[in-house]
């Protein structure tokens, strides 16, 4: 309505990002029985998400600008995230991130867990609250997904005195089976 759309979109993105990083947030995973699953059916507000996320399929916006991002054989083509831990110190880098992650049937809903719920061992009574339930997609796959963990002297590959040591190169391909649910809830009621 009246709140400028950009602001809220970014807030929401930030919130979603923080769900993943939050320190006071706890996530538990458990398998849902068929019975529990059928109880979810007809839910009023949740949704099932399917889709894919692709990073730098054809290089990024700095591709070929002589600032360290060109897509020639073996050269940096993906996105780069650099963080400096100490003032004047080096940078830890997630470099050359690219590839595709696909998933089908990731569910998002809120759920009230009460003491009468089964399926949490005997822990349900301790919950007794509403949680955000992320139902893991049954099938997910990575296509040409790769990144490099590195340490670097500068934030950018084009900065003066740039030096970088690649610590770990990761390439992922193929299907992943993910089962169960992630429950996210504030630890302070």
């Amino acid at each position: 309505m009246l709140i400028p759309a950009y602001s809220i979109r970014h807030s929401m993105f930030a919130l979603l990002a923080w769900f993943g990083l939050a320190g006071t947030v706890t996530a538990d995973m458990e398998s849902m029985s068929d019975q529990a699953l059928s109880g979810v059916s007809g839910q009023y507000g949740g949704m099932s998400l399917s889709g894919d996320v692709t990073f730098n399929e054809s290089g990024g916006p700095l591709k070929g600008e002589a600032v360290g991002f060109d897509c020639n054989n073996g050269k940096r083509c993906g996105a780069r995230v650099a963080a400096q831990l100490n003032q004047g110190g080096g940078w830890i880098v997630l470099d050359d991130l690219q590839g595709t992650f696909e998933f089908m049937g990731l569910t998002l809903a809120t759920r009230l867990i009460t003491g009468s719920d089964t399926g949490f061992g005997s822990d349900a009574a301790d919950f007794n609250r509403t949680v955000i339930e992320i139902g893991m997609p049954e099938t997910a796959s990575f296509t040409d997904f790769s990144y490099t963990m590195a340490t670097s002297s500068t934030a950018r590959p084009s900065d003066n005195d740039f030096q970088q040591v690649d610590r770990l190169n990761v390439e992922i391909g193929g299907d992943v089976t993910l089962d169960g649910n992630a429950l996210i809830f504030p630890t302070e009621p």
Binding site: A5, S11, L15, T24, P61, T110, S158
Partner: protein
Amino acid sequence: MTIPVGHRRVWLTGAVLYAAIGPVCAMEAMDDAELAGVQGQAGVTMEMATEASVDRFSYFTNGNGIHLEDIDVGSASDPNGLARRDYELDLLNDDSLEIGVDIQDERVSVGGISLDDSGTKSMGSFWMDRNMDGWFRITPGGALSEEGYTFNSDLSMQGSRFGYQTNGHQLFLDEVTVSAIASDHTLDVNNGIVEYAAPTELEVGIGAIRYAEGSTPVRGDQSNRASMGGIEAYMDFVSEFEIRGGGGRQGAEGLQVNADTTLNTANFLYKTNGYGLVLSDISGTSSVQDLRIEVGKDFTDAGRQGLAFTLNGSGSRAEGNLSIGDIKLGVDAGSRDGGRNIGSVDLSWLYENQTINGDAFGNQTYVMAGGHSDAGDEGMRFASEWSLADAALTWTTDGSSVLFDGIQSWGRGDVTVNVTGDEKLGGTQFYEGLRVGFEGISGGYRMDGIRVGSKGSVEGAEVQGGVELLSALGVYRSFEFGNMDGQYTLTPGVAGGEGITINSDLYIEDGRIGSLTEESGQGIWADDLSYEGHIRDMTLEVVKNGLRVMRGEAWSTMDVGNLRVGDAQDGASFGRIVWQRYGQNSEMVITGPEGKEGLKLALTSIFNQAVGEKRNRFLWETGRTTDGDGNPENGTGMQLVLDNVHTSDGPGAATNDFGIKTDLTVDVREVESAQGLQQGLHVNTRTRFRELNVGSVDLVHNDGSGNSSTATALQGVSIQNMDMESNLSATPIP
């Protein structure tokens, strides 16, 4: 009040009214040759030069009055001149009276409108300049009996102008053309009820919407002034009114109106600089039951007087539906060809009394004199309450539909309207143009969720989430607020031509946004929300294939006191989140995907480096101490702060023009889901940026007594060369 049954009095009333506004008239004798040309030789021609004025015209109900002051009729072009009116009266064989009309260069103006309790305040002045010709025919006999009347007319206005002025600033519709064809309108009086049926074909063109300084309405050519753009509208409709003197809500005097309208077909065009936004293939119905019109005291404790339109009786309701078959953006404004197709929209609504959170809402508006208190004595104020009990919106692209179902909205507060200039008065900054202000408005909306399916069968689909994917468009499952103040000022013209420039300020307190909400009331809630946003020099114009919005400068702070899960009011909280935004020259182009139907947004969001308190900053606070009532106190907990977030054009570049570019495409289509192929709401997002930097990531510890210590966790974060694309489809949970 009773309506006189004797229908002949209508003639008398007309004659008296005419005499009242046309007392100065010159009549000329017709020569034989002219007389011979009159059909049936029974005609009379009247040529009149008019200049007239009425000091005050008042309407009272139950002792409360509304007053029109300084009503003037004269020449539009010459302040001392006369308007010219020619009438040709002709009695036809079927006893009809046909009146040919030719009005040239006439200005009718109302100097002010006030209520008994307005004091020095006035609603401002209104005027109409017109050239009108055509004919009007009155035939004895209505729809119900010989006692009624039937009216036919074909009237057209050219080169006309409508204006509104407050406190020395005026806004006017320029180069207005109107063609109105009335086909067998019937007027009957049945048991004291006036019944009027009006099959009408109406075509309206507004060439430009312009602004001028000065309290005297402009005269002559004004085409050198900037324009908001033009409007063309066509509609073919039948309206039926029942008007009875059934009394108002506040006494025995007042009008009671029932109205039914069938809109057979309509289309609408808004254009700037040769490009247009077109709504076509429009049809619908509307029914209004038990609307009362009177002068009375409003619903607040202050009991302010206003011209009251109230639809809040036990039997009051307004319901209807509207179908817009085709929405196109960025067409050629002349031929209406080209452009991008957004799809079609079907709306249905029911306005009636409802109770929300224990508070009773109805539909009512009181029109009062006086707008924003700092703007001057002239302006309008609408003290309003609304209650949309049930509405639905269906959006269809290429045969697949999404239905936003179970929409409710409610609220109350004051809306003010002024025409203002670029000046600071009484501590308030005003901008040039039409200012719409919000004062003390509380309200909100919510919806059950969405249904997705093939066109025509979508009503039977399951309710699901997915509105959450549209938060980029400012659409939420629910949004309510305890108080909203602010203003939008619309100024004609943008750099380089026609368009609207907007300056706005908005303050929201005690807000709450809901997502993933369930029928039980549980959900995820951005609660205890306050928002302050300012936009300067935002321009809006229709361009080729789209609608372009450019924001000169914008800064805002959204403070979510508690991000809750579970119950909206006392669900457990993830803590407080504050998001400050600051950017210049951000752009949004709304268009459709090429070659098919859908909605596509191309956003360029520039995050500027911090300037004073204007900055991009994200804060998350937990572990706050609570006050005596158990409410957490902001600034007492542990804070994680991402400060001075900003974009840059990349390594070595001093410029910041690329920003974060996001292309967002929304449509409804058959998608692959865990249940196989099914209809889903599909959102494609592609986000690119050259460089996004975080100045620092700090951990701030507050000891609860006003002392804080900051530890920098990360000296800086720099993300470069990002191009992320996602396709997400929302379907019901199986």
